[in-house]
Symmetry: C2
């Protein structure tokens, strides 16, 4: 692509970027802990250590701010995908992704998916950067799903899109919190959810009732 040497960012620009990152990180944290509707811009500013008015010099509004936080999350996911060892099979890659997203959810970080009836969902539909990043991720994961199906590691009677949804939806599965409320340890919860997601609840090939 662009092989031109990038101009060294000025000190001021670095400061600017660093502060913006701090804001986004604070927003991500609160978004994960409290959700879009419950969190407030005041809290974000307080956690970032700046005044609210300064925050509005960086972001147009709450929607904008949280959309940026969500883009941040997707970019982290992309880096995780990039960092997977080359020798892994397609299924192993998908398992690693699943484990990563479940772990995220249990540590109260931003979920990959916005809540169904959250105003954030609408804001994200209008955010081109988020849509583009998310499309990339989908295409890439879908490729792994198809490959895993070809290798016989995933069911071939399900459309790849459906499997893709089933995997991504785990990152917002309420089952994790229900199990945590019962007092189970995080790692055990993750193992159960992954196991059930992949193998199901029935012992063998299920005999569906007519």
């Amino acid at each position: 692509m662009n092989t031109l040497p990038l101009p060294r960012p000025s000190f001021k620009a670095q400061m600017h970027q660093a502060r913006e990152d701090a804001i986004v990180e604070a927003a991500s944290r609160l978004l994960g802990e409290k959700g879009f509707e419950t969190m407030t811009v005041d809290e974000v500013a307080a956690h970032a250590g700046i005044a609210k008015a300064s925050l509005y010099k960086h972001f147009a509004g709450k929607d904008d701010l949280c959309a940026a936080a969500m883009v941040h999350v997707v970019e982290r996911l992309q880096r995780v995908m990039d960092g997977l060892p080359a020798e892994l099979t397609a299924l192993q890659r998908l398992q690693a992704l699943l484990r990563w997203s479940l772990h995220r959810q249990l540590t109260e970080e931003v979920p990959l998916l916005p809540g169904r009836s959250s105003a954030l969902a609408q804001a994200l539909r209008d955010c081109d950067a988020y849509q583009a990043a998310m499309r990339q991720v989908h295409v890439r994961i879908r490729g792994w799903v198809v490959q895993a199906q070809a290798e016989g590691a995933l069911r071939r009677d399900l459309p790849p899109e459906v499997i893709l949804c089933a995997l991504l939806a785990r990152s917002a599965d309420p089952m994790l919190y229900m199990l945590r409320d019962l007092g189970h340890a995080d790692e055990r919860i993750i193992d159960w959810v992954m196991d059930i997601c992949l193998s199901g609840l029935t012992p063998g090939p299920v005999a569906l009732a007519g």
Copy 2:
């Protein structure tokens, strides 16, 4: 002698109850469509056809109102459980319940489970009526799970509580909305989700990566 027409002492009470039911129904509808944080008491009053101040004569506040709506939902679930044909196996009962809750979710009705970071979750923890009803439902469904395990219809290597959580969590599974956004028909979505929940994503016994 008393020539007055037969007294109908419960008439006023009936009116009272009918109005209260209308309020709860409106609250349920909006709770399902928009979620606890986004919906407003004004909207509920408008949908119920009364003034907001009148609503506050029936319920102490928004929390109270929505808790009542949630209790209403659990009671409907209990009636569904009561109405299941006696000749069904335990697994078939669980499948029927699963199908019912998935159908509910797709028709934008109140989900059985509150969102993770919703203020409603806290309100429900403080609501004895909800807690009691929910405990009853849990115990009953858990019984069916144990029975299905004994019949070999559900995996025995998972604790019943875990399977119970896995089933209940489907009623708030974001997968349904993802598939709907892809343009699939409701019935097909439900079939896929039930199938994947019970049989998993892998073809046979899964070979976990070491």
